[in-house]
């Protein structure tokens, strides 16, 4: 007998083993994105332009320098990190849930050689790709506005991908648990927005009280900002290994749990 009791319980906790099919899932999403590329890019370029011109110049007049950088550069380099976070988080929660539940896109995929692991891996890569697109757009805007002028900033591109993966994992995890869209409002309000405000995008985390700093220090966006800001501003880097390790840990743990829970959800 193959189906001993509990045998498949073990199966569902096994490590994910995605295959080449993940690329097909990623390409499916790229194809959808390309159909609405105009609107997406307008948003990707328009929003940072407003932030950088409005806040960067407006606040910059009063603030002058922050953390040794002109304020608009400080802000631009912070937004580079937070934009990958926001974009990957939205795609990994709202959009993935939409494909999983109302659209049943994954049920269709699961009637092909694709497995849940392929879907989760492909979605994760896609979330990171969208994060990369949005942050790269900001980079371009910041360069055109003269807020960033170092060639070192090109190293940001792989960093954006890593930041995207870091936030895609937890977002997919939330989506795999969601029973409706409501939970994503909690996720944004309780996790994403606080990070956006506290993790060093608008001011250095060193200006926060000690206890708060300790908490903020374990949040992924803090490490994303700490990695990307010096890269983009052409400053010397420090603790690169630590930041990469923390971001990777969130990505991998998120991926693992999302794969396990999505398997349970899609395979009865």
């Amino acid at each position: 007998m193959i189906g001993r009791k509990g045998a498949f319980h073990d199966l569902s906790w096994r490590l994910p083993a995605p295959g080449g099919g993940a690329l097909a899932v990623w390409r499916r999403n790229l194809l959808v994105w390309r159909k609405m590329m105009g609107a997406s890019l307008l948003f990707n370029f328009g929003e940072p332009l407003i932030y950088l011109v409005g806040l960067g110049y407006g606040l910059g007049m009063f603030i002058g320098e922050m953390g040794g950088l002109p304020y608009r550069t400080f802000l631009a380099t912070g937004l580079l990190a937070s934009s990958s976070m926001t974009t990957a988080s939205m795609e990994g929660s709202y959009s993935v849930y939409t494909r999983m539940v109302p659209q049943q896109t994954y049920d269709g995929m699961l009637a092909t050689p694709l497995e849940v692991d392929d879907i989760v891996a492909g979605e994760m890569m896609w979330c990171a790709t969208k994060g990369l697109i949005s942050s790269a757009a900001i980079l371009l805007v910041a360069v055109l506005l003269g807020a960033i002028d170092s060639w070192q900033a090109l190293w940001c591109l792989p960093a954006f991908m890593l930041v995207g993966l870091c936030f895609a994992g937890p977002a997919l995890l939330v989506a795999s648990l969601a029973r409706s869209w409501d939970i994503f409002a909690y996720y944004v309000t309780l996790a994403i927005t606080p990070m956006f405000i506290f993790c060093g995008v608008f001011y250095p985390t060193s200006s926060l009280p000690g206890g708060v700093q300790d908490v903020v220090g374990i949040l992924p966006l803090t490490h994303a900002v700490a990695l990307i800001r010096p890269l983009a501003a052409g400053l010397p880097l420090d603790h690169v290994a630590l930041h990469v390790a923390v971001l990777s840990a969130y990505a991998l743990l998120g991926f693992y749990l999302a794969a396990v829970l999505t398997r349970r959800r899609l395979i009865a």
Partner: protein
């Protein structure tokens, strides 16, 4: 190289959903090249059974081999050679008809040029060639169903699984699908379908199994199943008056079943009874050969499900 195994072999297959036994130990052999029908009232466990065959639902017990390979261990390989039309269409609403097929082909790793060739053939096969650029949201129910069938054929599968392919369709679309399914069978594919329509099963299926409450309660060719479970003829009498009913019972005319206004007489000797009924012109009756629906109702009862 084809294995001599049946395309589907299930032994003692079970599925429990947190204590609810949806499938309770079924044995099934689907031979290569046949059209096999799985019949049963709502909630009988048909969809659950099909989902185990394609790996979207893990069995709780028993043995299952599909295309000669163990399910779910070899799921990827099995699904490469299988096509599925799900009970509820799950076409990709972000794409047009053509893109749906192109993207689905990519899940099988089919190269673009081959995919495009197949898509043209398949759209023609299901009569959607002029709809290639239409968005899914603008298709009628029948068109979606036909597109689902085309999508299930994109990998030229050996085994095609269809869960209620014709439910809710108008007669034109049903007949088109029947024609297409027969063509597929003639081309050597194995078909496994579920349906509520007994006349559909009688027309299409070489073999069938009737399921109820998670068990298979009858199995065989439609003819054989009818022969095994019901008398060859049925006489339906509308508003059978009590004296006639008493007479039928006394004369041992056949097995009587009353449902609403209608009395069904299942009998091996319909000739004599019909002759007798003809003498009372005020009684309206219908004489017909027994069919699969009679078997189905006898085995699963006339009570409403759900």
């Amino acid at each position: 190289m084809h294995s001599p195994d049946p395309v589907i072999l299930a032994r003692g297959l079970c599925k429990n959903f947190n204590g609810l036994a949806a499938v309770r130990g079924i044995d099934l052999d689907v031979r290569r090249g046949v059209c096999f029908g799985l019949l049963g009232p709502n909630g009988a466990g048909k969809t659950t059974t099909l989902k185990m065959f394609l790996g979207q639902c893990h069995k709780s017990g028993g043995e299952l081999r599909v295309l000669g390979m163990a399910m779910p261990q070899q799921g990827r390989k099995i699904r490469r050679r299988m096509g599925v039309v799900p009970q509820a269409d799950n076409l990709d609403p972000d794409f047009t008809v053509y893109e749906n097929l192109l993207v689905y082909a990519s899940y099988f790793g089919i190269a673009r040029p081959l995919a495009r060739e197949r898509i043209d053939e398949l759209l023609d096969f299901v009569g959607l060639s002029d709809r290639a650029a239409t968005h899914i949201g603008e298709l009628s129910g029948g068109m979606k169903r036909r597109l689902s069938v085309a999508r299930a054929l994109i990998n030229d599968p050996e085994l095609l699984i269809l869960d209620e392919p014709t439910t809710g369709l108008d007669p034109q679309v049903r007949h088109l699908l029947w024609t297409r399914l027969r063509e597929l069978k003639r081309s050597g594919k194995t078909l496994l379908l579920t349906t509520h329509y007994m006349e559909e099963a009688e027309r299409l299926c070489d073999e069938l199994a009737i399921m109820d409450h998670g068990r298979i309660i009858a199995q065989g060719s439609p003819r054989a199943v009818i022969r095994q479970f019901v008398e060859p003829d049925v006489i339906e009498i509308q508003g059978c008056p009590p004296p006639l009913h008493a007479g039928l019972t006394a004369a041992n005319a056949g097995r009587l079943e009353i449902f609403g206004e209608t009395t069904y007489v299942y009998t091996a000797d319909a000739q004599a009874l019909a002759l007798c009924l003809k003498q009372s012109p005020e009684i309206s009756y219908l004489h017909r050969p027994a069919n699969l629906e009679d078997v189905f109702l006898k085995l699963t009862g006339r009570d409403l499900r759900e």
